[in-house]
C-alpha cells in the first residue's frame, strides 16, 4: 500500500479496518489521485432524546473511497442482473430490488465490525453480499441453484450468511428476532451489536413495538434501522403512518434521522450507534431516509402510486452512487480512470456470476425432505401414498 500512496501509509496504520488487498493493482502511478484524504460535511442529523449526535463531518481516505465505491457499484450491478434474470423467468417467485438504497447498507457495513450482526427483511440481496457471501452465492440462490447460499431452497427472500440472520419474508417479523440476537451478544459479552433492519411499511407492525420494549427494558445492544424508502409496498409514508418521524417512534428509545442517500452519513451514524450501544446505553432507532427505484417487488411496476418524474428526479439529484462519485472525484480522492477500472471489474464479476447462476444445477430432489427437523424421529416424511414415502435427510452436518 505504501508504495502506491506513500502519504497514506501512516494514516492507515492507525486505521482499524484491515486491508487485505489494495483496491486496485498499481500499473502507472499517474493514474492515481494525489490527495490521500478529504473532509466532508454531513447533512445534519435529527435527534430524538439524544443530547449529542454523530459527527457532522468526516474524513475519507482515497483507499476507503474506492472501497465504498466498489461496494456501491457491485450492489447496483447485482440488482440489475437480478431484474434481468427475473424478466428472463430464470428467477421465479418474488424478488425485491435494493437499487437506490445502496448507501444505507454500504455505509453501515463500512463502520461495522466482524462481531456485529445483521437481520433484515426480504430486500436482502445487497446485504447478503456485504456480509460476505459471493455474488454467485447470492445470484444462484435467486435462481434456485445448488451454489446458492441457502442451497437454492430459500430463494430471493431467504439469504443467509455469517452473522447475517437472513432475509425474512413476513413484514416486521424480523424485528423481535433482532432483539433476541442482540440479547445473545449481551449474554455472551462479545461486544457485538445487532442491526435490525425494517422498512417504513413494517414500522407500523405491532411486533416492532414489542421488540422496542424488550430491547429497552433489558438495554440490549440493538440498533433498529428503519430504511424509509418512502413507500410501504404501494402506499406512501404519509398515507400509512400517523407519524413519519420514524426515528422518534421508539418513544423511550432514542433515535437519529440520517440521510440514507449519503454513504458517509450512513457510515458515521453507524459508527456512533456502535459506540452508543457498546457503552451499555441500550437500543437506538436509526431512520435512514432513502428511495427505491424499482417497484416493491418485480410484480409491481412502481408507477401506479408515484410519478415517473419523481423517480427520475431522485435518480438525477440524489442517487447514492452518482453523488458519491462526484464528491470523491471533485475532491481529487480518486480519478475517473480508477472508477472506470472498478466499474469494469464489477461488471465482469457480476456477469460471470450471472452466467454461472444460470448453468448450475439445482440440488437433488431428495432435499425436498431435507433438513425439516434436526432429528426426524420417523425415517420418512408423510404426505403421499404410504408406498412411496420420502426419506428425511440431514443435508447440513448436525453438531
Amino acid at each position: 500500500m505504501s508504495k502506491i500512496i506513500p502519504s497514506t501509509a501512516k494514516l492507515l496504520a492507525a486505521n482499524t479496518i484491515t486491508k487485505a488487498v489494495p483496491p486496485v493493482s498499481a500499473t502507472t502511478s499517474s493514474k492515481y489521485s494525489t490527495k490521500s484524504e478529504a473532509k466532508f460535511e454531513i447533512k445534519p442529523y435529527k435527534l430524538h432524546k439524544l443530547d449529542k449526535g454523530p459527527a457532522l463531518s468526516t474524513t475519507l481516505t482515497s483507499e476507503d473511497a474506492l472501497k465504498l465505491y466498489e461496494h456501491l457499484a457491485v450492489l447496483r450491478r447485482i440488482e440489475t442482473a437480478s431484474g434481468n434474470l427475473y424478466k428472463e423467468k430464470i428467477i421465479r417467485g418474488f424478488c425485491h430490488l435494493y437499487s437506490g438504497q445502496e448507501a444505507v447498507a454500504v455505509g453501515m457495513r463500512a463502520a461495522m465490525r466482524d462481531v456485529d450482526s445483521v437481520i433484515t427483511a426480504y430486500r436482502c440481496h445487497g446485504w447478503t453480499h456485504l456480509m460476505g457471501v459471493s455474488v454467485l452465492g447470492v445470484l444462484s440462490e435467486l435462481t434456485g441453484r445448488r451454489t446458492g447460499c441457502s442451497r437454492g431452497k430459500g430463494g430471493s427472500m431467504h439469504l443467509y450468511g455469517k452473522n447475517f440472520y437472513g432475509g425474512n419474508g413476513i413484514v416486521g417479523a424480523q424485528a423481535p428476532l433482532g432483539a433476541g440476537v442482540a440479547f445473545a451478544h449481551k449474554y455472551r459479552g462479545d461486544g457485538g451489536v445487532t442491526f435490525t433492519l425494517y422498512g417504513d411499511g413494517a414500522a407500523n407492525q405491532g411486533q416492532l413495538f414489542e421488540a422496542y420494549n424488550m430491547a429497552k427494558l433489558w438495554d440490549l445492544p440493538c440498533v433498529f434501522v428503519c430504511e424509509n424508502n418512502g413507500y410501504g409496498m404501494g402506499t406512501s409514508v404519509d398515507r400509512s403512518s400517523a407519524s413519519t418521524d420514524y426515528y422518534s417512534r421508539g418513544d423511550y428509545v432514542p433515535g437519529i434521522w440520517v440521510d440514507g442517500m449519503d454513504v458517509l452519513a450512513s457510515r458515521e451514524a453507524t459508527r456512533y450507534a456502535i459506540e452508543y450501544c457498546t457503552s451499555g446505553k441500550g437500543p437506538l432507532v436509526m431512520e435512514m431516509e432513502t428511495y427505491r427505484y424499482s417497484g416493491h417487488s418485480m410484480s409491481d411496476p412502481g408507477t401506479s402510486y408515484r410519478t415517473r418524474d419523481e423517480v427520475q428526479e431522485v435518480r438525477q439529484t440524489r442517487d447514492p452512487i452518482t453523488s458519491f462519485k462526484e464528491k470523491i472525484i471533485s475532491n481529487e480522492l480518486v480519478t475517473p480512470d480508477q472508477l472506470k477500472e472498478i466499474d469494469a471489474k464489477v461488471r465482469k464479476e457480476v456477469d460471470e456470476a450471472t452466467k454461472q447462476s444460470k448453468s448450475e444445477p439445482e440440488v437433488g430432489i431428495e432435499e425436498l425432505s431435507g433438513d425439516i427437523y434436526y432429528n426426524n424421529l420417523e425415517p420418512y416424511i408423510r404426505g403421499i401414498h404410504p408406498n412411496a414415502p420420502l426419506e428425511h435427510v440431514n443435508v447440513m452436518p448436525r453438531n
Binding site: 421465479r92 417467485g93 418474488f94 434456485g144 437454492g152 431452497k153 430459500g154 430463494g155 427472500m157 431467504h158 419474508g169 413476513i170 413484514v171 416486521g172 417479523a173 411499511g201 413494517a202 407500523n204 407492525q205 405491532g206 411486533q207 410501504g232 409496498m233 404501494g234 402506499t235 398515507r239 400509512s240 403512518s241 410484480s299 409491481d300 401506479s304 402510486y305 439445482e362 440440488v363 430432489i365 432435499e367 425436498l368 425432505s369 425439516i372 416424511i381 408423510r382 404426505g383 403421499i384 401414498h385 408406498n387 420420502l390
Partner: protein, 368 residues
C-alpha cells in the same frame, strides 16, 4: 372435455397440452375445468376469478351503504387487482389502504363489524394471515359466544389469496384452511372458479358469522367462465357434486378440484371407471351429508389438498367418513396431499398432489 385426451395419451403430449392450456406457465399442474351450469338465469359476462370477486364486492358496495373494503394497497386494487376501480367508484372513505399490519387489519375489521358495518378485509396473501391469527381465532370466532349473542362480528369477511401459484415459494403458497377449521365460530370457504367465487363471496359477506374466504390465487387470471351479471348467492356449508360415478368419491376444494376432475377423466379412459367428484367449497362447516351419501354409494374415497398431510383438513373428513360409512367402505380412505415439509421454492412441482399422484392413489384404491 373427454375428447381432449382421447388420442394423445403419451406423457409428453399431455405435458405440452397441460402447459399450453394454462396461460403458458410450464409449472402449472392442472387443467382448468370451467363451470357450465349457471346458478341463476339471465345475462352473463365472461369473467376471470379476479373480475368475479371484483363484481361481488362492487355489488356489495353499491347495495350496502355500510359496506367498507380495506387492506394493504387495495386503493389501487390490491396486488391481484381484485378491488380494481372500486375506490374511484365508491370513494376513499369506503375503499382504502391500511398500513402493513395484519393483526391491526383483522382487529380493526372485527371492531368495525361489531359496530354494525359490513367489513371486507383483504389480507394480501394467506401466508400473511398468521400475525392476524390471534384476532381471528381468539376474538372474531368467539365474539358472539362470549357476549351471549349481543356483540357478534358476523359482518366481517376476511379475503386472502392462498394456495400454490407456480413459483410462490415458502411465503406465497400456503393453504391455511385447516388452521381456521379448528376455530368454532368461524366459517371457512374456498371457491374453485369465477361463478362459485362470486356466489360464495356474496354469501360470506351477508352471512351473520365471520368468514375466512380463501381465494386460490392461481385461478385469478387462469380461470374464466360465463358469470351471471346479476346478484346471486351460493349456499355456505354445501358441497357440490361436479361429476357422478359409482367407483370412488374424489373430494377436493379450490384448485385441487380441477386436478381431481382430470383424474376422474383419466380413470374413465384408462381404468374404465366413473367417479364422483365433490367440491367441498365450505371447509367449516362442511357438508357431511353430501360427502357421506356419496361414499356410501361408491365405497371408496380419495381426499386431496395442497396443504400438508398431518392435521390437514382431509384428516377431519376421513375421520368422519369412517365413522359414518364404516360398513360401506371397500378400502381405507386415501389422502393425497402436500408433503409434511415447508412449501418448497424449487420443488413445487414435486410437492403438489398432482394428477399423477392422485391417479396412482386412485388406482390402488380401486384395486385394494
Amino acid at each position: 372435455m373427454a375428447s381432449l385426451v382421447t388420442k394423445k395419451s403419451v406423457l409428453f403430449a399431455k405435458f405440452v397440452k397441460n402447459a399450453s392450456n394454462n396461460s403458458k406457465r410450464l409449472s402449472s399442474h392442472f387443467i382448468y375445468f370451467p363451470d357450465n351450469e349457471k346458478p341463476v338465469q339471465g345475462e352473463t359476462t365472461k369473467m376471470n376469478m379476479m373480475q368475479a370477486i371484483n363484481n361481488a364486492m362492487d355489488i356489495t358496495l353499491k347495495n350496502d351503504p355500510t359496506a367498507v373494503l380495506f387492506g394493504e394497497d387495495v386503493g389501487f386494487g390490491g396486488v391481484f387487482r381484485c378491488a380494481l376501480g372500486l375506490q374511484e367508484k365508491y370513494g376513499k372513505d369506503r375503499v382504502f389502504n391500511t398500513p402493513l399490519c395484519e393483526q391491526g387489519i383483522a382487529g380493526f375489521g372485527i371492531g368495525l363489524a361489531t359496530a354494525g358495518a359490513t367489513a371486507i378485509a383483504e389480507i394480501q396473501f394467506a401466508d400473511y394471515i398468521f400475525p392476524a391469527f390471534d384476532q381471528l381465532v381468539n376474538e372474531a370466532a368467539k365474539a358472539r359466544y362470549r357476549s351471549g349473542g349481543m356483540f357478534p362480528c358476523g359482518a366481517l369477511t376476511v379475503r386472502a389469496p392462498s394456495g400454490a401459484v407456480g413459483h410462490g415459494g415458502l411465503y406465497h403458497s400456503q393453504s391455511p384452511e385447516a388452521f381456521f377449521a379448528h376455530a368454532p365460530g368461524l366459517r371457512v370457504v374456498v371457491p374453485r372458479g369465477p361463478i362459485a367465487a362470486k356466489g360464495l363471496l356474496l354469501s360470506c359477506i351477508r352471512e351473520r358469522d365471520p368468514c375466512i374466504f380463501l381465494e386460490p390465487k392461481i385461478l385469478y387470471r387462469s380461470a374464466t367462465e360465463e358469470v351471471p351479471v346479476e346478484d346471486y348467492t351460493l349456499p355456505l356449508g354445501k358441497a357440490q357434486v361436479l361429476r357422478e360415478g359409482d367407483a370412488a368419491t374424489l373430494i377436493g376444494w379450490g384448485t385441487q378440484v380441477h386436478v381431481l376432475l382430470e383424474v376422474a377423466q383419466m380413470a374413465e379412459e384408462k381404468l374404465g371407471i366413473k367417479c364422483d367428484v365433490i367440491d367441498l367449497q365450505s371447509i367449516l362447516p362442511w357438508d357431511e351429508e353430501t360427502v357421506c351419501n356419496s361414499v356410501k354409494k361408491t365405497g371408496r374415497c380419495l381426499i386431496s389438498h395442497e396443504a400438508p398431510l398431518t392435521s390437514g383438513f382431509g384428516a377431519e373428513l376421513a375421520a368422519t367418513i369412517q365413522d359414518e360409512c364404516f360398513l360401506h367402505l371397500e378400502a381405507p380412505i386415501s389422502r393425497v396431499t402436500g408433503w409434511d415439509a415447508p412449501f418448497p421454492h424449487v420443488f413445487e412441482p414435486f410437492y403438489l398432489p398432482d394428477k399423477w399422484r392422485c391417479f396412482h392413489a386412485l388406482s390402488q384404491l380401486i384395486n385394494y
